[in-house]
Each structure stands twice: as structure tokens, then as C-alpha cells.
Symmetry: C2
């Protein structure tokens, strides 16, 4: 008999019919003998409706009061699911974040979980009840309602699994697992049976938005086995876990991630003096613009070029900040490009394999795709290319790294 | 500087515009120097929407879980009002029933308030904040969310006023006070400046649905001065208070209430033996049918007739129960009538005035209105008449008891 935490997102509980389907699924697990804690999001669209109500009062609504409103979304779904389970003869009880009690810090709208009281949940599980918990919300030490920020229900699921030392945290979504790359781009993409936390982090942050990145970090930190599954289709999904078996048979790379949401900015002819990177990125950061890749090459003629990428939505803003900076520090010019794409190969296997990057560059060269920027980490290599080559690049790499064929061990 | 509890109902907070108007009103009071606790209902229609969601899962939803859902309605409005106040530069904070903490028993969907912790509210008031509290909800000693039943926000307001020893509890509604009778029936109806708790109870239970009856009882018990006011019009409203000055100038009756929602049932030729009333009403009560008036006259020929009224919606059900009973106890026949109306005169003044009832009967006789049933209490006389005479009867009585003219002392 296992203890399983199951998390269903907004689409999975988006209507009464869907909630009834989730109840059927939960009942099946319960009848198989598992102890179950179910974490729910608000019905899809509901959180936006509530935020919109608040914004009709004030574009910048008071953060404490916003959490009071937004937290009602999950409060409705947990009670609906508990009712649906009770109707099926499955004893169940719902808890808000406050009732559990999921203690957070007091950063309204983006709170972090500090501690979970497992007392009530354990006693309900012992009494044979399914416990349905509101995701995305908690309470600070003064009893103020807090929320974890958008998508935070995944984090609630993982945190509960960690606190309860659950055997598995199952995240139900609208995909049946994590794939070697986006199947819409590469039809031969394969569902991965397993992936490590580190790989998943690189895949998620690079645009394979299956799981919320914070929840993966959290799961890795507390070593909670995470499984991504489809809400309404049968199948084993993908297990995200620690890297247990670094065997010969492990593929060199696990997947190919990509992202077309970025834009690139370059400031050229920057005097090559200490502190210049800060002078450039300081004002960007002060303007609340997030930077992804940063590349600076060695200087020549005492000047250097400095390039970074930002979200495409923030390109104009970043450009105007950077133009000011260029004047101040005496740089030659600022240029930018929004028609770029980032492609990354990810895999813990590359740690022990030399030549992974060169194999990547080689297969792009074969397709005559020019590489504009390169950055690397221990388990990934990312390149920026012209956007129109994105699909071609992903397909070429998918084949070059032997991801097309059904993989060994699967 | 007074401490005032203000309660706004669902219509008063039914849209963002209305909530902004309430915020303007609250700000004015605050700027005048009063300490304010504001109690809110859910937006009109929202509670029904939430109940409907629950009923889509189960016609008889689990009571605990229903409270979890339904309580979100007020949780949204309190935060919206707090935001609107903060936007206006008025420091404000919202609290759910659980956050206050309003402790209730565990009768879900119809809980009763046991105790209110005034600690947080007092410290907020001291800090100059307007405190916005969710009406209609509380929490039991195990932390389960409870609701007080439909319309319970009035009760929350009165209970808070009692706990805080507030100077006044103001109930904002869609009428500008309590009238001598329904102005739609008698255009000369007058707004009462004052009315006693007892009179208000009789008026409310008889169909002048301005205030929730439980809140009036509660206010009377704890002697909380209640004031009924219009949410969006200026005016002093009607003060409901204890009967301080039983002066000569006090009118004999304060108002005329009426009700067309009832139906009458008579069981005839009942053997006149002890216990027969219970044999008749026992099965009615067991069928969860509420009975209003009950009349039994003295027996003749060892049989008696027994008449009572029920809500018109329950007439058919009551009729079938009563026909079974008639067979069992050997009664002659069962007859009924749904085309009836009840008219009542209410006033503490009648205690010290003889002949009030006969004056009532006289003025009805003058209009040739036949009286079918009569029942009396210390401060009211009710009669049942044929429904079509209702307006005529109310107007005749309004004139007979001198309620048409502006009254002395106003």
C-alpha cells in the first residue's frame, strides 16, 4: 500500500464533468488500496476571472487582499471533488491551505512554503479518507492567506509529498509524459520513461513547459519521485527521479528543448574595463527585465561586444535602456534581433562524453544553419540561431543524437 | 467617536460599481471619525451560482463541503471592498469568518455563532484600519468552515456589534427603512423613525422581509441598536431598539404586515379526545412541513374542527399527509384553500389599549370582508381572509389605525 500525492491542474478540473472524471480516477486508485492526497488547482479560467475582478477595482490591487480573492478558486474545486468522492462512497475531506496548515512566508502573491503540518492529513488517511488539498495557497504565521504565485499547485503537491514522505507525487497534465522534443516539430519524438531532476530542470526552463520549474527543484531537493501523467488517458507517463544508474546504455542526451520567445540585444564597441558587465546589466535588472543567455567574448582593440537575450515582450523596453547605457559608457552601437530561436540539447550523459557540443555544431553546419550565440552548462549546450531554421535544427539534432528510434530499455 | 458596524447585502455589493459606491460611503463615515467594522454578503447571485455548482455534483451535497464552497462568495467581496478602500487612502483589512475568528457550532449550512474573538479587530481599529468581515460564515472548534444559512450576514453584523459593544449596527438594504405597511399596497405608508425589537420581529415574521428575523432576535437579546438604511440614498432610516418611552403619544399600532404565501387546511369532524392535536400535527411535522397559524375551536357533538396554515408550496404535500391522518383518526373530511391571505396589525401600544382587535374586525366588516381565522399574541392580531380582499383590507386598516397621516413626533 503506497501513499501517493496526486495533483490535477486547472484543465483537469475545468468543468463538473471533468471533476467527476477525476473522482472516478481517484476512486480507482483508492480501491487498489493506495492512500491518497489529492491537490487541485482552480477551474481553468477562474483564477484569471478573479484577478480581473480585483483589477477592476485597482490595477495594482493590494497584494494581501488579492490573495484573499484568488485563493477562493481552489477552495471551490476541492469541495466539489470531495463531494464527488463522497457521492461515490469514497470517504473524503477537503482542506484549504490554511486548514492543513501550509505555513508560508508573508510574500503575498509569491509566497514560499516554510512548513506543512501533516497532523490532520495523517489522521484522515488513517481513518481511510481521501484528503483533498487546495494547491497554490497557504497561510502566514499571522493567519493571513497567501498564494504561491501562478502554477504553484505543482509546488504544493511536491511539498506535501515531501512532508508526508509519499512514495510518489503524480502530476496529471494534458500530455502523457515528457518527450525527447516537441512532437509537433518532430513526429518521431519519443516519450521518456525516466528523466533526472537536473535534465527536467533544463528542459523546463528551456521551454518544455510540462512542469513548473520550482516544483522540480523542490522535488529534487527532497528527492520526491515525480511522475508526469495524462489526466484522462491511461499510461505510465514519465518518472522524474534521481540519476540512479549511470550505465553504458544511458543515452548521451535525453532531449532537445527550444524556445522562440526570446530576443537578442548586442552592445558593440564597449570599452573593455572592469565593471562594464555590471554597468550594462545593472540598469536592465533595475528595469525588472529578466535576462536569459549572456555572452561576452574576449576583447580586441580594447573594446568588446556584449550580447544577451530577453523575453521578446521586453525587447523594446530593454533596447531603450541599453541605448541609454551605450551613451553613458561610450559604446559604439546597440543592435538587436527578435527573429531568433534558442535550441538546446540536454542530458546528464554528456558529462561523460566528450565531443557532444562538436557533434551538435557539426549537424547544424551540415544543414547550413549559422550559430549566433553559444552557451553551455554541465548538462546542456544551447545555441541561438535564426528563427526560421528552428524546426530544421531540432529535427537534425533529434536524428543526430539517435532520439528518433525507440530507445534501449524502453 | 462612535464604533459602528455596517452591514451591506448582496445587492449593495452586486457589482464592481456598487462596491466602489460602498467604499465611498464607508470613507465618508471614516472621515467623520467613526471606527468602522463592515460586514458583507456575497455578490447577489453568487451564492446561488455556487450552490448550483455543488448540486451539479450531488443534489444533496455533503454539508461540510458545501460550506467550503459557499463561503468563497463573501471572501471575494470583502477583499474587493478592502482593495477599494485602500485605493481611496483608507487603511483597511479583510477577514474571513475563520480569520476573525467567529466560532460556531458544527451544524453545517445553518450554524449558530458561539463566540467571537474581538482581539484582531480591536487592534486593527486601534491602528486606524477599517475592518471588513465576511458575513454569513464562521468556523467550528475543529477548524471546519461553517455557514449560518441564507441571509445570515445580518446575524454576523449584530453578533459583531454585540461582541464589540458597538454603538449601532447599521443594516444597509434596498429600502430606506421600515414602513407602516408595504408602500406598493398603501401609497400613504409612512417610514417609521423607531420600532421596537418585538414589533420588528412580528413585522418580519409576517412578511415585511426587511431584516432577517434571527438577527432581530439577536439584537434584542444583546440590546444592540439596529438601524435599517438604504445603501445608496441618504436618510436616517429606521432605528430598531428597546421600548424606552411608553408614552401617551405612542401610536397604538406600528404597522400592518401581510402575507400571501400561505394555504389553509382544515380537518373536520375530528373526535374530540385528548392528544388529537398531536395526532394531526405530528405527521405534518414529521414530513418537515412548517405550520404557521393553528386554530381549534371548542367542540360540539363530541367532534371538533382543526385548521392550520402552511406555506403554499407545501400545500399538496400537507394535504396528502392530512388525508391519511383523517382516515386513521376517523375524521369526517379534509378541506383546504390556497387562495387566502394573512393580515396582521402589530404594535406594542396595543398592550395598554383595549378594543384594538374589535376595531380591526369592525373596519374589515365595514368593507364586507369575511374573517376566516383569527389568532392573537400580545402585540399582534392576525386574521386570514380571502386573498382577493388583501389590498382592500390593508388599506382600510392603515386608515382605521391612523397610519396614513404623518405621525406625531416625526
Amino acid at each position: 500500500m503506497a501513499l501517493i500525492v496526486q495533483k490535477f491542474g486547472g484543465t483537469s478540473v475545468g468543468s463538473i464533468e471533468r471533476i467527476e472524471q477525476v473522482a472516478d480516477k481517484v476512486r480507482k486508485f483508492r480501491e487498489a488500496g493506495d492512500d491518497l492526497v489529492v491537490v487541485l488547482s482552480a477551474m481553468s479560467g477562474e483564477t484569471n476571472r478573479l484577478i480581473d475582478l480585483a483589477k477592476q477595482i485597482n490595477d495594482q490591487p493590494d497584494p494581501r487582499e488579492l490573495d484573499v480573492i484568488v485563493s477562493t478558486g481552489e477552495q471551490v474545486t476541492i469541495a466539489l471533488l470531495a463531494m464527488a468522492l463522497i457521492k461515490r462512497g469514497v470517504p473524503a475531506v477537503s482542506y484549504t491551505g490554511n486548514q492543513v496548515r501550509i505555513l508560508t512566508d508573508n510574500s503575498h502573491n509569491k509566497a514560499r512554503i516554510l512548513q506543512i503540518d501533516d497532523h490532520k492529513i495523517r489522521s484522515d488517511l488513517k481513518a481511510g479518507r481521501v484528503v483533498v488539498v487546495a494547491g497554490f495557497q497557504g497561510v502566514d504565521e499571522n493567519g493571513n492567506i497567501t498564494t504561491l504565485g501562478r502554477g504553484g499547485s505543482d509546488t504544493t503537491g511536491v511539498a506535501l509529498a515531501a512532508a508526508l514522505k509519499a512514495d510518489e507525487c503524480q502530476i496529471y497534465t494534458d500530455v502523457d509524459g515528457v518527450y525527447t522534443t516537441d512532437p509537433r516539430v518532430v513526429p518521431q519524438a519519443q516519450r521518456l520513461e525516466k528523466i533526472t531532476f537536473e535534465e527536467m530542470l533544463e528542459m523546463a526552463s528551456l521551454g518544455s513547459k510540462v512542469l513548473q520549474i520550482r516544483s522540480v527543484e523542490f522535488a529534487g531537493k527532497y528527492n520526491v519521485p515525480l511522475r508526469v501523467l495524462h489526466s484522462f488517458k491511461e499510461g505510465p507517463g514519465t518518472l522524474i527521479t534521481i540519476d540512479e544508474e549511470e550505465s553504458m546504455e544511458q543515452p548521451i542526451i535525453s532531449g532537445i528543448a527550444f524556445n522562440r520567445d526570446e530576443a537578442k540585444l548586442t552592445i558593440r564597441g564597449v570599452p573593455d574595463t572592469p565593471g562594464v558587465a555590471f554597468k550594462i546589466l545593472g540598469p536592465i535588472s533595475a528595469a525588472n527585465i529578466e535576462v536569459d543567455m549572456i555572452v561576452q567574448n574576449v576583447a580586441h582593440d580594447n573594446t568588446t561586444d556584449f550580447t544577451f537575450t530577453v523575453h521578446r515582450n521586453e525587447y523594446e523596453k530593454a533596447l531603450s535602456v541599453l541605448e541609454n547605457t551605450a551613451k553613458e559608457i561610450g559604446a559604439r552601437e546597440v543592435i538587436g534581433d527578435t527573429k531568433i530561436a534558442k535550441v538546446s540539447i540536454v542530458g546528464v550523459g554528456m558529462r561523460s562524453h566528450a565531443g557532444v557540443a562538436s557533434r551538435m555544431f557539426e549537424s547544424l553546419a551540415k544543414e547550413s544553419i549559422n550559430i549566433q550565440m553559444i552557451s553551455t552548462s554541465e548538462i546542456k549546450v544551447s545555441v541561438v540561431i535564426e528563427e526560421k531554421y528552428l524546426e530544421l535544427a531540432v529535427r537534425a539534432l533529434h536524428t543526430a543524437f539517435e532520439l528518433d528510434a525507440p530507445r534501449k530499455g524502453e
